[in-house]
Symmetry: C2
Subunit: 384 residues, 2 copies
């Protein structure tokens, strides 16, 4: 297998982009990545996508977007594993370059969520839960994560304030990210007093509905060096699955797929959690960030709430998590999220994150998960 | 890159399977392939899928099906490129094994189409056309292929009877396939006098709405030899895209993505069309089989109707096409089709196709396409 590098990244301002269609948002972002890489063609492309059939009535988007980007007839593949679709697109592109099948691959994700009303968006997102064992009984994602939050509070004594501290930190980071959907700060009181969604989760515990895209160009390391590009290598890739329905898991507070995907990525990269300088993880709800930290081995089981409260995961902490603002403040166009995490890590390792820069970051990790954690993709990056 | 072999196949009876759910159909079929391969585990799996969100309200099916198959936490990936999703699952599995990332990979497709009414099925299938430039104006797939048929008739003098001959041949072949949805023969008169769908296409020119699944296990050739399995190698893989909207193509009778994907596969396999002993191609409508034959270089442009009429594509012809019965008679559970084509070719090359066996077949080709041809995946197989 060949070594793989990221040589170009692209991301545009996220939010409620009512004046742009899915194809507009995609092309604008993909061209930024192509320009950044300075390549004159691509050999293949991957598009992470969750539920474009329900959101915009359009499947077959891999071919559609290849055509609109002016890249047809290149092979173009849509992959889906709920909200981890972006991370999965990166993993498959990595595999294609590593195998020698292709040299220059565009990996990307795009989502247009605001063309449908709130009810339909909730339904579309709900298709990532178990229709027969979960949705049929009326539960949706805020409810599933609320169950996980209650279980974590009961088992480990995690507090309502500690959950809020995740949102406070991520909004503080996001306020320094010009591309974030909600670039403003919030306080613990703001979070705790915001509208109740599913007890104990309030609206400021939840990531938003977002339109947006993100893209990256990857190629063999040898080629990156010839192009005189700064080399950020992809040194580890892991992907794992778990039961979709949380009732089928032994412990609702434990994300087995994140643990397994992390283990695969750490092994491939020959790194340990303590070797990682900066993390971008899937904080679709505040409780998610806590469970992920434990499953990735950043902190011991049950100690995540305390770590956040003490500021250890802040940009200047000893284990910075989500300097981009995370899904919470940056936004969460579901299938673009995994690629946007990689975009942030590449910026961090290249020293280009300006006000939210983690000093001296050389090794970074992304964790992108689907549903209530039934699929997870982890990547580890290193600056040469 | 490592050489790759198919060591196990699975397919169950296709049709209107109202008493089985998507997960039931899938698990039953995947277990057949695993049993056939005689392996005790899999390292990774791919599920081809078109629009499960609309058909059964369930996305995230890669994790769901891994769990129901008892294989979680293995990495499980859903890929989609409309009706070519099955072929694409095979291609990505091929890439994963060839790269050395994994050894034993399950590639599969499943579709449950009859849980929704005809209108919703037509809508779901329509999401593979261009929503903004085609569907918005009221056209659906029978109409798009009817336009291609009229163009072919006008340009090359292809006759209504020649189109019917495609259905007659495929139903004759399908009558010998116990797993086919419609295993009976039809006559040219039956086809021409059947209900009109979109002039000149009649209902017997169209593939049906089907529930069904298909699965295969692939591994490195060296491993297949150690397992004492008959070795059917995957020697070529091609994938290409084109404009989704047929109005954006230079020639409505020419399938550029099929031509390009075929070219890539022929080059990788170092074979020419005349080296192929048996073809399984995407006859979603009778006109499709004709256009595909021309784009794959089996016959010259405009000569496909004549070739079918003369019996050259029959099982005992000099270029047998769709001995399985094709999508027309065997059925077309959209995302399972590409894998079912591979299942048939493996059977043919292993001499296990009984009454529909192409004598002495050693090299076979599958062509699986999405929408009105905007994505195509081609594979070439060889018996050692």
């Amino acid at each position: 297998m060949r070594d793989v590098a990221v040589i170009g990244i692209g991301m545009t301002k996220w939010g409620e982009l009512w004046e742009k269609s899915l194809r507009d948002i995609y092309v604008e972002t993909a061209l930024l990545a192509i320009d950044d890489a300075g390549v004159d063609h691509i050999d293949s492309m991957y598009v992470g996508s969750m539920s474009s059939g329900i959101f915009v009535g359009q499947e077959h988007i891999a071919s559609l977007l290849a055509d609109y980007l002016g890249c047809a007839p290149v092979p173009s593949t849509r992959v889906e594993t709920a909200c981890a679709s972006g991370g999965l697109a990166l993993r498959l592109g990595f595999m294609e370059v590593a195998s020698g099948m292709s040299d220059i691959v565009l990996v990307s994700g795009v989502e247009k969520m605001t063309d449908v009303g709130g009810d339909k968006a909730t339904y579309a997102l709900g298709t990532a839960a178990d229709q027969e064992y979960e949705c049929y009984h009326g539960i949706t994602f805020p409810g599933l994560y609320a169950l996980m939050a209650v279980a974590h509070m009961n088992k480990y004594g995690t507090t309502r304030e500690q959950l809020a501290e995740v949102a406070v930190k991520n909004h503080r980071n996001g306020s320094k990210n010009p591309l974030a959907q909600f670039p403003f700060e919030v306080t613990v009181e703001d979070v705790i007093n915001s509208v109740k969604i599913a007890d104990p989760l309030r609206i400021l515990d939840c990531s938003p509905i977002t339109d947006g895209a993100a893209a990256a160009i990857i190629c063999p390391v040898e080629m990156a060096k010839k192009l005189n590009k700064p080399v950020v290598k992809v040194i580890g890739s892991g992907h794992a699955t778990d039961a979709i329905a949380i009732s089928q898991r032994k412990d609702m507070t434990w994300l087995e797929a994140t643990y397994r995907a992390g283990k695969s990525a750490y092994e491939m990269a020959q790194k340990k959690p303590k070797d990682i300088d900066v993390f971008e993880v899937h904080d679709c709800f505040t409780i998610a960030e806590l469970c992920v930290m434990e499953a990735l081995g950043i902190v011991e089981k049950g100690k995540s709430g305390e770590a956040v409260e003490k500021g250890r995961t802040a940009i200047d902490g000893d284990m910075p998590v989500n300097p981009s603002g995370g899904l919470k403040s940056k936004g969460h166009p579901v299938r673009a999220t995994g690629i946007a995490q990689a975009v942030e890590i590449v910026k961090q390792l290249s020293g280009e994150s300006e006000e939210r820069q983690v000093k001296g970051a050389r090794i970074g990790l992304t964790q992108n998960m689907g549903g209530s954690g039934a699929s997870t993709v982890v990547h580890i990056f290193e600056k040469e």
